[in-house]
């Protein structure tokens, strides 16, 4: 089999049994890889209503179809499970170098079932699987664990995916870490912690073969030229994702103080530019086959946090800790980032829950002993990261996420608990940006931009405007303040995003930082890698099928149209100042967008449930039967 390793590995931690399953051509044809096959297996192998932290949940690691090749930025992996924060579908995409190594070890997919009796880690080398004792590793942070595993296995080429104390303590937003890279959102780290699985270590010698090596090489070089020719990528390489801070702040689209404000004086001090200028940035890290190397390696060499070093921080990290908490203390932010990486915790949610707590204090409904929760207090964010990871004092409340924390605290604190479906929101201003508003409302895992980043809706570049014209029929829709046609825009991006994830490509090369490796090129990569031709329509249909499967999972869990919504703040509290002052995204506008979106999907308008004929047209007959069994097919 070209490109693929050809096998799925099932590990049952309860029975301590291991089983292989061939990766069928049919699965590959329908879902291509990565996120797609993960979604199908999650739907097939779980029942609705299971406890995400219980024995019946499964944890899937899915490599991309192109992972383990020189296709630019092709080493992404998707990790999937039922999510602890939302009790709904959860996938997280992550970079690093794990995906190629899992393939080299002989497997495209790893499925973890059950729960170990005591802490363990998995060692997978050349199709040989061992469940090893991890009681000496339990409690250790991620970098120490990685090092100890390499020492113990006497192998410094091992790649590891693992959890830190946050996952062990079942923090609702604990991450699974691959080196400095984070599969952050939704609490996958807690799923792993609940299974008492500390880490998965892989290494292998089986090469990845491609059908047309010469053509693959030339296409890869052509793709690199396309990437190099795009001016916007230089900033990404030089300053990382946090290089976006100054422009967003200048445009007053930079959420501050738990989305109360849209601009922060001094935000430059946690921008990617500042980190480079002031020497915090020491090097850049590149994920597998990605020379863009947007990831950072930063250190603090003096002062209070001297000795701090870590991967990152990313835009969302500085936006959450800096903008969100109104903290301008660069080094405190770097320290908070480092601790999140060590403990294995999502910086988006961690920053979200802290700023919620700060607003609670502002509104005098919450206080923390020994921590001053005033806006702008850098020391507080560092201390709170520690307390959350170890569930100490207020940390125990905050570790549950904003939704549950607000339920406990009461006093209207739900009004500023910025979440949808139970997951905290990434830093996107959804009162002004209608496409983002819809995208975040409908994202099956919760409100972030990582399901359909509709970057083109701003019409900021010729490519963006051309794309909007292609999708909507006219460039006049290339503006983020109108709700019309957002359904179409989100639909296209959803499909392209899912196809990207199935191939293992980074969305930074396919759509969210320039539309560069476009669907046509994606089909060419797939053809030269596998020997199988696919059309652009077929590729985007694969994406569409994946998105529909994910929706079906949520529908089976009981999700309806009312779950596709926005936080109260964005529907009721207008933007306070600036060029978009007075804007909200009220229910009426959201309904307009949802109606169009559901219509385009072939989903029932009232419930949001996929119609029977829609599922059948995508070859998802078995999914339709299953949903019918649970009474979830619209009449």
């Amino acid at each position: 089999m070209y490109a693929y390793a050809g096998k799925i590995l099932h590990v049952d931690l309860t029975a301590e049994k291991v089983r292989e399953e061939p990766l069928s051509q049919e699965r590959v044809k329908k879902l291509m890889g990565g996120r797609g096959v993960n979604a199908a297996l999650l739907f097939e192998l779980t029942k609705p209503g299971i406890d995400p932290l219980g024995e019946e949940n499964i944890l899937l690691f899915g490599t991309g179809a192109l992972s383990g090749t020189c296709a630019p930025s092709s080493g992404r992996m998707t990790i999937t499970a039922k999510g602890p924060a939302t009790n709904l579908y959860l996938k997280s995409s992550v970079g690093g170098h794990f995906a190629p190594e899992l393939k080299f070890a002989g497997y495209d997919y790893l499925v973890i079932h059950g729960k170990a009796r005591r802490p363990v880690y998995l060692w997978i080398q050349d199709e040989k699987v061992t469940i090893r004792d991890a009681s000496h590793l339990w409690g250790k942070d991620v970098p120490d664990t990685d090092e100890l595993i390499q020492e113990e296995l006497k192998n410094d080429r091992v790649e590891t995916a693992g959890i830190g104390p946050a996952g062990e303590n079942l923090v609702k937003f604990a991450a699974i870490m691959i080196g400095h890279n984070s599969a952050g959102r939704g609490g996958l780290g807690a799923v792993m912690g609940a299974k008492k699985l500390k880490a998965v270590a892989v290494q292998g010698h089986k090469p990845v073969e491609v059908a047309r090596p010469e053509l693959f090489k030339n296409l890869s070089l052509r793709a690199l030229q396309t990437l190099a020719g795009f001016e916007g990528r230089k900033g990404l390489s030089l300053y990382g994702t946090a290089g976006l801070v100054p422009i967003r702040n200048e445009m007053q689209l930079f959420p501050v103080k738990n989305f109360q404000e849209d601009h922060l004086e001094g935000a430059y001090q946690f921008s990617g530019q500042y980190l480079a200028e002031k020497g915090y940035l020491k090097n850049r890290f590149g994920c597998s086959a990605c020379g863009t190397s947007c990831h950072r390696f930063t250190t603090v060499d003096e002062g209070k946090y001297k000795g701090s070093k870590s991967g990152g921080p990313e835009y969302e990290t500085v936006a959450a800790f800096g903008g969100g908490c109104k903290v301008i203390d660069t080094e405190a932010i770097l320290k908070a980032n480092e601790l999140c990486n060590r403990y294995g915790m999502d910086t988006i949610s961690t920053g979200s829950v802290i700023q919620w707590a700060m607003e609670c204090r502002e509104k005098e409904v919450l206080d923390a002993e020994g921590v001053n929760l005033t806006w702008g207090n850098g020391e507080a964010i560092v201390e709170l990261v520690r307390r959350i990871a170890f569930r100490q004092d207020i940390g125990d409340l905050l570790a549950e996420g904003v939704k549950r924390a607000a339920e406990k605290v009461g006093h209207d604190s739900w009004k500023w608990a910025i979440h949808v479906k139970g997951l905290e929101q990434s830093r996107a201003e959804v009162r002004a940006r209608k496409g983002y508003a819809l995208a975040l409302a409908v994202n099956p895992r919760g409100p972030d931009h990582l399901c359909s980043q509709v970057y083109a809706e701003d019409g900021a570049t010729p490519e963006a405007r051309a794309l909007i014209k292609k999708i909507c029929g006219s460039e006049k829709y290339a503006t983020h303040v109108m709700p019309e046609k957002r359904g179409a825009i989100v639909r296209w991006h959803e499909d392209c995003y899912a196809a990207t994830d199935a191939l293992g490509l980074c969305t930074f090369v396919t759509l969210s930082r320039g539309y560069l490796i476009d669907p046509k090129m994606m089909t060419e990569f797939y053809a030269h890698a596998t020997g199988t031709e696919v059309s652009e329509e077929e590729l985007l249909e694969v994406g569409h099928r994946i998105v529909t499967l994910e929706k079906a999972f949520n529908v089976r869990e009981g999700a309806t149209r009312k779950d596709d919504t926005l936080a109260w703040r964005f529907m009721n509290e207008p933007i306070r100042s600036g060029p978009r002052r007075g804007m909200t995204t009220p229910q009426k506008e959201l309904d307009l967008m949802l109606d169009e979106y559901y219509e385009l999907h072939g989903w029932d308008r009232a419930t949001g449930w996929p119609k029977k004929e829609t599922l059948e047209s995508l070859g998802l007959e078995k999914v339709a039967e299953e949903l019918a069994r649970f009474g979830k097919i619209p009449r």
Binding site: V208, G286, C287, S288, C290, T292
Partner: protein, 132 residues
């Protein structure tokens, strides 16, 4: 010769995949004649190990069977697999321990600069690899 700037290597390992593709038409780090490793002495940085076809080429003199030669025009260093016994003296003599001694092949292998148009250099976006 190859110019390497390790300080800007980001560890993306694209060069290893490019070289593997060139050498063996498939992908694995073991097939590559350029190797990237984490620098354990300096956290956050990487070591780039590849034959640099350097002017001094101490491997030539170190080889007991004269299997290693250097082209006077191109400067490219080559190892003759027919003569090589796999003794490993060239590895010890090389300041970067660049020759790859594979137990499979039985002889030492080094980068051949893709006959003058090295693929790794083309694939290296950070610019850590340059051809002089």
């Amino acid at each position: 010769m190859m110019l390497i700037d390790e300080s800007i290597c980001t560890g993306c390992r694209t060069c290893e995949f490019a070289c593997a593709l060139q050498q063996k038409k498939s992908f694995h780090y073991d097939f590559s004649l350029i190797r990237i490793r984490k620098n354990k002495a300096e956290e956050g940085f990487f070591l780039v190990t590849v034959c640099r076809h350097c002017p001094s080429a101490p491997c030539l003199a170190a080889c007991p069977v004269e299997a290693i030669g250097k082209d006077s025009q191109s400067g490219i260093v080559t190892i003759d697999p027919q003569k090589c016994t796999g003794c490993g003296q060239c590895v010890d003599a090389c300041p970067w321990q660049a020759p790859v001694l594979s137990s499979n092949d039985g002889f030492a292998n080094i980068c051949d600069l893709c006959k003058g148009d090295p693929l790794c250099v083309k694939f290296c976006q950070p610019g850590a690899l340059r051809l002089l």
